[in-house]
C-alpha cells in the first residue's frame, strides 16, 4: 500500500526534524535533511519492513544527516567539527579515542548501520543493550561491531602517530 506522505509527516515529521536539528545544528539544513528522509521513505517504501516506523525513520534521519555532514563542502568543516566534538564529549565516559578529526574520514569506510550505532552510543549516550534493541541485533553483535570499529580507530591513530 502506498505511503500517505502527509499522514506520515504529521505523525513522524516533528521527530525526524528534531533529530536532524540535533545533528546538523542548523534549521535550513535540518529541514532539507528531514525532507530527504521522507523522500527516501517514499522511494523505498516497497522494501520497508518492521512494525515501528519511528525506529526506522529515526535511524534514517541519523544516516541522512551523517551523509550531509560528510558531503557538504560548504559547511562541512564546522559542522563536522561540532559533531566530532559532540561524539568526543559524549565518549568521555568510555575511552576518549574519538578526539581526532579523522573520525569523519574513518566513518566513510563504515557500514551505514555501524555509523548509526556509533552515533547512538557516543552522541546519544545509549547503552549497548539499547542499541542492540534498536537495531534488532544481539548485544554481542553490537559489541563486536564496536570492538571492530575501535580497533580500526586505534590502528589508524597509531598509524598517524608513526
Amino acid at each position: 500500500m502506498a505511503i500517505d506522505v502527509a499522514a506520515h509527516y504529521q505523525t513522524y515529521g516533528p521527530m525526524v526534524l528534531r533529530r536532524c536539528r540535533f545533528l546538523l545544528k542548523q534549521e535550513e539544513r535540518a529541514l532539507d535533511a528531514m525532507q530527504e528522509v521522507f523522500v527516501r521513505l517514499l522511494t523505498y517504501q516497497n522494501r520497508l519492513r518492521g512494525d515501528y516506523p519511528s525506529s526506522l525513520l529515526y535511524r534514517m534521519a541519523t544516516n541522512v544527516c551523517l551523509n550531509l555532514i560528510r558531503s557538504s563542502k560548504h559547511t562541512a568543516v564546522n559542522d563536522s567539527e561540532e559533531i566530532i566534538a559532540s561524539i568526543a564529549s559524549a565518549a568521555e565516559h568510555d575511552k576518549p579515542i574519538f578526539l581526532n578529526a579523522w573520525l569523519d574520514h574513518l566513518f566513510r569506510q563504515e557500514k551505514p548501520t555501524t555509523k548509526e550505532m556509533m552515533v547512538m552510543l557516543y552522541v546519544d549516550g545509549m547503552t549497548l543493550e539499547e542499541v542492540a534493541e534498536a537495531f534488532g541485533m544481539s548485544v554481542s553483535g553490537v559489541r563486536k561491531r564496536v570492538r571492530e570499529f575501535k580497533t580500526r580507530v586505534q590502528a589508524l591513530k597509531e598509524y598517524e602517530h608513526v
Binding site: 502527509a6 525532507q35 523522500v39 557538504s72 563542502k73
Partner: protein
Amino acid sequence: MSNPLSDYWLERYALDELPQAKREEIRILLQADPGLQQRLRELTQSNDAILRHYPATAMADRIRERQLGGTTADRTVPNTHVTWARPGWMFPAGTVAVAAALALWIMPAWLLPQLHPGAGLEITRLKGMESGLTIYRQHQGNAELLKPFAFARHGDLLQIAYVSLTEPYGVIISIDGRGTATLHFPENNQTASKLQIKHKTLLPKAYELDNAPGFERFFLITSVTPISPLDILRAARTLAQTPHLAKTESLPLNRNLHQYSVVIQKSERQ
C-alpha cells in the same frame, strides 16, 4: 536503561511505538522523574510548534515535488558548490569548450554578455541530464546550487540555468509571494523563445531577489512549437494571485506544454 533516557526512546514512547515491556519500563521512569515528564511535555509542545510552522499539507507537497520532480536536487552528487568563474582566468580564447571539457559548468552570465548575447551560454553536456531548471546563488565568490525549497534572501544574486532535452521552445518566468510574475526568458515578450536543447544553458543575466515575502518560484515551460511569452505571463499572474496555491500548483496551461519549477524560499534573516 541509560540515564538520562535517550531521545530515541522518549520519541518512540510519545508516539506509542514501543514493545509493551519497554513502554512499561519508561512509564515507571516517567512517574518517578519530573525532569523526564518535563521533557515529554516539551516534546509535545515541539510537535505542535513544528506542525504549525511546517504544516503537513505544505510539507507533503514539498516532499512529493522533491521526489517526483527533484528537478535540480541532485542527491547523487554531494558537492553542491562549483567555482564561480572570474573572467580573467576562466575565459581566455576558446573558453567555452575548455570550460565544458573541465566540467566547470557555471559561469556568471552577466560577466559574459558578449559570448552568446540574448541566447544564454551553453555550459556542458552531461549524461543523465534531465529537463528542468537549476538555480545558483552567488555566494562568497562561488556559485552555490540552490536546491528546491532552499532559502535565499533579498539582495541575493541568482543565476538561472535550464536544460531542455528535446523541446526547442520555452519560456522562463517566476512568481513571488507578492503575487508578481516576472519574465526571465526570452528577454522580452516580443522576442523568440527558442531554447538551446541538450545543454545546460545559463540565462544571459542574473536576477537579484527583491523583498517580496515568502518565496520565489521559477518555472520553465517547454514546447515543441513556439510559445507566446505573454500567454505564459498571463497564466503566471493568475497563479501568483492565489497565494495558497502559488507554491505548489502548476500553471493553468495547455497540457501540451511541459512545466518544471523550483521554489526558493525567502529567508527574513539579513
